[in-house]
């Protein structure tokens, strides 16, 4: 029992509401927002430490003192607390990048408020232990994302965000349908209780149906293979900082929910459900990278790389062994950092050159070496070159898949990695190598380095995650062991 678990979503909610009153004072807004971001990050480090040190490696809170299956319960286990930590880190970095790049008009129209409401939803979704509460936090996240994605109201943005909103509303309706079915057969919505009761039910058919509806819902939000079509265009509209935030957090909420439900609740029939996930993982990788290869627009390429990486992130869930899931968790952590770094750099490049078309650029490395090498490191980490973090994620995923005899997905993953390398190097060669083109640069070297100050911490984290893969893997392996032994989770919540 610990009240601390409320803070990661209560703090941003309160601050978001307070910031509405200071909407027209952008300097004051920045100060409040920056301090909150730092406080949130520091607090989530402390919370992670607390969870890691606690005897069950899990803390939970029965909200309002209602006993577990009846009231809403918040659970901070190793996976969710790691996600909260990464979300607040990514949020903090995005905030500081936003200070420098977000147009003042956006700041005056509640950018920071909705930024914090988004964090509220994301952190809440990570921490909740109740399925309906998860739905509510999903909606909190989504409604803030609807506002942020159409923020600014350009023609292109409006058109694409309409599609994004409709897609997500349909998925949310199906979330309710799945919740209703699950409630009908089990009579509970507490995740621990669900895990307990679904295991005792002798109705595999209906459980499979519900599992597939959940796969559809979370797949639509996490951008899995046939359901990712809304992502490339709608993410293209908003400024780089919002796209980075979405790419790092929104799809991860969907993936986290997939991992949570398919390890805790729908773990009875992996031969059926998890094989489907594995097939989708492979298809997502392939189609994502093919999309990236078909584009010449730097932002589009990185957006398609989101989709391609989603495939790797759920590959571990599809293989369904402790090592594979550990690989998945590590990969999600790594991807949050690297994706944000890449979007920031892409944003800087677009701001610098005034174009997003990589064919029109060239020779930036000579003038802006720091920018070039930051991009290079982030890109290599995304592709998975040792000793950067992407390598260890892919390595553990592939080793564990071979161990489970899933050779097809290993082949797909390796080919896709090669294509990833090709697509990232294509950006590097077009933009940074070659002859300088007649583009006039809008920013001086100092300004670029100033913007890069927010990218450097991300680069440092990806290097640190790679060099410190040993302790990092100790943590994610413990988290994956927790996930693979749902009885432990159930026993802690329902003593």
């Amino acid at each position: 029992m610990s009240n601390l678990l409320v803070v990661p979503f209560l703090l941003p909610m309160v601050v978001g509401a307070v910031l509405i009153f200071f909407a027209k004072h952008h300097r004051l807004q920045r100060i409040i927002a920056g301090l909150t971001g730092i406080a949130l990050f520091v607090f989530s480090i402390y919370l992670t430490y607390r969870v890691y040190q606690s005897p069950e490696q899990m803390i939970h809170l029965e909200v309002g003192d209602w006993r577990a299956p009846f009231g809403i319960v918040l659970v901070g286990d190793m996976l969710s607390i790691l996600m909260v930590l990464m979300a607040s880190f990514v949020g903090l970095v995005c905030l500081f990048y936003g200070f420098k790049t977000i147009h003042i008009e956006r700041e005056r129209y509640y950018f920071y408020s909705f930024f914090f409401f988004l964090l509220t939803g994301v952190n809440g979704a990570f921490l909740t232990g109740d399925l309906f509460n998860l739905f509510v936090f999903f909606e909190v996240t989504l409604i803030s994302s609807y506002v942020l994605i159409s923020h600014g109201g350009k023609k292109f943005q409006l058109r694409e965000s309409f599609k994004y909103v409709v897609m997500n509303m349909v998925a949310s309706a199906f979330f309710l349908v799945a919740v209703a079915y699950l409630y009908a057969i089990t009579g509970t919505l507490n995740m621990a209780d669900l895990g307990d009761r679904v295991a005792m039910l002798d109705q595999q058919g209906i459980i499979n149906v519900i599992a597939i509806i959940f796969l559809f819902v979370f797949g639509a939000k996490g951008a899995l293979f046939p359901l990712y079509y809304w992502l490339p265009k709608s993410y293209y509209g908003p400024p780089a900082v919002i796209t980075a935030l979405f790419g790092a957090l929104l799809t991860k909420v969907g993936l986290y929910s997939l991992i949570r439900t398919f390890t805790l609740i729908f773990n009875q029939n992996p031969a059926f459900t998890h094989t489907i996930i594995l097939v989708l993982a492979g298809a997502t990788m392939i189609f994502g990278v093919l999309g990236a290869l078909s584009k010449f627009d730097i932002k589009s390429i990185i957006i398609y790389q989101i989709i391609s990486q989603v495939g790797f992130m759920i590959m571990g869930l599809g293989v369904f062994s402790a090592d594979a899931i550990a690989g998945s968790i590590y990969y999600i952590t790594h991807d949050m950092v690297v994706k944000v770094a890449l979007f920031f750099i892409a944003g800087i490049i677009i701001q610098l050159t005034g174009t997003a078309d990589i064919r029109k650029m060239g020779g930036l490395l000579k003038k802006y070496p720091l920018l070039g090498w930051s991009f290079f490191i982030a890109a290599m980490s995304l592709v998975g070159i040792p000793p950067l973090s992407g390598f260890f994620g892919k390595f553990s995923l592939i080793v564990s898949s071979v161990g489970e005899g899933q050779y097809v997905i290993v082949g797909v993953a390796l080919v896709v990695s090669l294509l990833n390398l090709f697509s990232m190097l294509r950006i590097f060669m077009n933009v940074f190598w070659g002859e300088e083109t007649d583009i006039t640069f809008a920013l001086s070297n100092e300004q670029v380095n100033g913007l890069l100050r927010t990218v450097i911490p991300l680069i440092a984290v990806t290097i640190a995650l790679g060099l410190g893969a040993e302790p990092a893997f100790q943590y994610v392996s413990a988290a994956a062991d927790q996930l693979m032994n749902p009885t432990h989770y159930i026993d802690v919540i329902l003593p």
């Binding site: 292109f156 409006l158 309409f162 509303m169 919740v179 209703a180």
Partner: protein, 112 residues
Amino acid sequence: MEILIALLIGVLFSVATYLLLTKSLLRIVLGTVLLSHGAHLLILTMGGLGQGAAPLLGQEAGSYTDPLPQALILTAIVISFGMTALLLVLTYRTYKAHQTDDLDQLRGRLDE
């Protein structure tokens, strides 16, 4: 009673699907509204349309209705209400900006 409501839910879902697949912006909005109505009714029905007494008020009755689905629906209705309001505004702005509500013309390209 449950069968009747189930049929109603089926009708709502099929009409919603039809509307979602049309090309007019406003019809799509109506489609999402009907879809969420169907989902809300489904929650109510799935809890069982019980005929017992109100829960918590007394302890004499032989059976009680399940209060949880109603609490869930209430939350879900409020959420879908807010979402619909936002979607309507977005639809209106999209229509204003593009001067069309035909999705075929809103297909669009990246480079513009």
